[in-house]
Each structure stands twice: as C-alpha cells, then as structure tokens.
Symmetry: C2
Subunit: 234 residues, 2 copies
C-alpha cells in the first residue's frame, strides 16, 4: 500500500547541510518562515489565536540508511530504539516540531526557530491546544534515567546553565567553576546533520564569563526558560 502526499508549502530557515544545529531555540538567530501554497491561505483563519502550532514536514534531505537502534547525541552511551528517539532517519521521514506563531501575512507564517533545512516541504499545520497537547503527567523517558539528567536536558534544550565544579558533570568536558556554559551548536559548521546526528560531537563551548554580547546564542540571563521544539536530536 502506497500513501501519497504532496507538499502544501515550504519551510524557510537559515539551515543548510553544513550548518544545521543540534537543536533550534525560539530565539535562534535568523529568519524562519513558512510559505503556504496560496490556494490554502484561507485555511489559516484563526490560526494566529494559538501561541504554538505543530508543523509536520517531509524530511527530504535525509538519505542515510534506516537504523532500528540508534543513539542520541545527548546520551551517546545509551542504545535506544528508533521509535524512542526523534532521529530523522525513520521508515516514514515525517518531521514534527512545535513552533511559536509570530505573525501571519497572507500565506506567509513567521515562526520561531525550527530545526529543519531550508526548503523543507510542508505537510501539515495543526494547532497545539493546551488542554489536550500539554500532558501533565508526561515524563522524559530514558532521559529520566540518566545520572546527570538535568544537565543533559539543559544541553538538549540549548539552555545556558552553570557548572559548579571542575568537570563534575560527568560529560568529560572541563568547565570553569561557576561560569555560564553555553553550547553554540550553530557554530558547528562542519557538522553534517543527517549523517552524524546520532554521534557525539565536539561542541564549541562558550565560556564567556557572562559577557554574552558577542555571541549569537546569548541570552539576557543564564536561567532563562527558552525551549526548543524540534525534530532532530533526541
């Protein structure tokens, strides 16, 4: 049985194969927008009443072979099943991301950061409805069993955080005492996203001593709660 879909628009991002990040942040630098095919523009009515939407897209630039068992970049030591991961190498390569709606202009939708390559074909947009999609008793699955869970989650969220001891976090990296610790995955230009996403990378570390003005991923304070909602890296 063949299931045939067709693109209903295109996702525009600053990401190409040479600079795809490990994750997206709502305030990721660059412009992110969806161009919906104009014949569907009417179907956007009231979409801007939602803070967030699901974006479904075809992962057309994934051409590496399917792996039934995989590894997350956030826990490379752990072997997990493909369906327990958000790896893009799936039997049906459908990407699912949650993004913020910033503005709708005709058939263009300005959105927050999305971890998709520029030119990705759009399949669907659905509202993220708080009372049904915000599941109160959800957990983090195998993430919850990691010994340095909170730290790994901070990394996975791209959330700046403090390290209180010399390499006391178990990740094999050395961090300065009490300094803000940022990973600028966006600067990881030699990272081929599709082929390498499930291996650990040497991230650029940004030991910036709280002088954050010179870096694109810098935030106003280290305990912000920005989240990323992207497809590729859990």
């Amino acid at each position: 049985m063949d299931i045939n879909y067709h693109p209903i628009g295109t996702i525009h991002t600053p990401y190409f194969s040479f600079n795809a990040p490990h994750q997206s942040l709502p305030d990721a630098p660059g412009d992110f927008w969806i161009t919906l095919n104009p014949e569907y523009a009417q179907a956007l009515k009231s979409l801007d009443s939602f803070n967030y939407v699901y974006v479904l897209y075809h992962l057309d630039q994934v051409n590496s072979p399917l792996e039934l068992l995989t590894h997350s970049p956030w826990a490379p030591e752990l072997e997990i099943g493909l369906f327990a991961s958000r790896s893009p190498k799936r039997p049906n390569p459908i990407g699912l991301s949650i993004v913020k709606i910033k503005e709708i202009q005709g058939s263009e939708i300005i959105i927050s950061g999305i971890d998709a390559f520029n030119g990705t074909p759009l399949l669907d947009i659905k509202p993220y409805i708080q009372f049904r999609d915000n599941v109160e008793d959800a957990n983090n699955g195998w993430f919850d069993s990691l010994p340095d869970k909170d730290h790994k989650i901070a990394h996975a969220l791209g959330r700046p955080h403090h390290h209180d001891s010399e390499d006391g976090d178990g990740d094999g990296h050395e961090h300065s005492h009490g300094h803000v610790h940022r990973h600028n995955h966006d600067h990881d230009h030699d990272h081929n996203h599709d082929h390498d996403h499930d291996h650990n990378h040497d991230h650029d570390h940004d030991h910036d001593h709280n002088h954050s003005h010179s870096h694109s991923h810098s935030h106003s304070h280290p305990h912000n709660h920005y989240r990323f909602h992207s497809e590729h890296n859990d």
Copy 2:
C-alpha cells in the same frame, strides 16, 4: 512532487464508521493496540520508558472533500480555518494523537484510547518528551475566546462536570440542577464520523444522578482529570 510513505503497522480500535466517538479518553472502553510490522520490533527498545507517545497515522477512511473553512463540534457557531482545527479532512490526511503506553509485547503495543478507526495504517511513533513537548505557555487559541470556554473544554475533553443552573451554560441543552453531566459520545451510533464531525450533534446525555455503574463512560468521581488526546474533533 509526490511524497510516498508506507504503513509500518496497523492501529486496532473498537471504532468503525457507525460508532466513532467525538473523542477518545485514556480509559475509553474497549481495547486499543498497535500491531507494528515485525521487522520494526527492535526499534521499540526503550519506548516503554515514556509515559506518552505521539502516534502518526494515515486517515485512510476520510473521503469527504477538503474544506478550507470548517467548524468545530464544540463551537459550531464559529468559522475557523482548517489549519486552526484538528479536522481529519486535510490536504495531507495525517492523524496525530498522544496516547499512553500501557504495555509492549514483541511488536504489539497496548495503548490508551485513540480516536482512530479500526485498521488505520500506522505511519510513525515518536516519544512525547516532557521537557520539549509540554509547552508551558501554550494556550487554547479560539477556544479561549468562547464565552463558556471552561464548559466547552470540559465537553471537548469528555470530562464529567456539574451544571449549576437550568440551562445556564448557553449550549441550548437543559440539565438538572447540580447533577453530573456526561456525554456518552460512544453511544452515538448513527454518527458518521468522517462526514459529520464538524456539525453539532444531539448527544446522548447521561443524567445519571451519580449512579454511574451502568454506563461505559462513567468515572469514579465527577472532577477527574482524564484527558483525551485524539485527532478528530477540535
């Protein structure tokens, strides 16, 4: 450009076209399970570490024409765009539901209630990860602007709730004072789900005076927080 996917399994539910409910509940009566094609069984490793998963499926039994503007059964007076709804009549009929994982046996996954027809082709399973999919500042979009929002949401969730006055809720139905109010959508046997989902129905009302043992959708107390996470009716 054609996008070709293939079923990787089958979703089994007690729902056929003559008895499809308006929504599913985690404790909906009947058995719900996914039969994954056995060649993918290995890819389920660690999936049971997650409380909830996303299920993506092909809405193969939707054959009514696309409507760019639609109406929710919960707010039939409001015209909304298709992409601001979870109507199954979409350009690419991909269903997205959040379900609870109950048990995994080989390539069979026992799940909580899902609002899909029996035999629906499975496209993908992805983990619902609390730290990225549980969006704290999400809202309910156009639901939030309904004058009787909380009541409508209780209906949409299939959540038993009290009515404090004679038809004081604005929905045109008459309810007994202070009685538990349940809608047994599951008994709505003449409801053709695909064609009628966006019209208001005459629901069976269950004014059961708190004697709930005889009804399949009854719960132990009226203020439970069961949720449904299904595709078809917002």
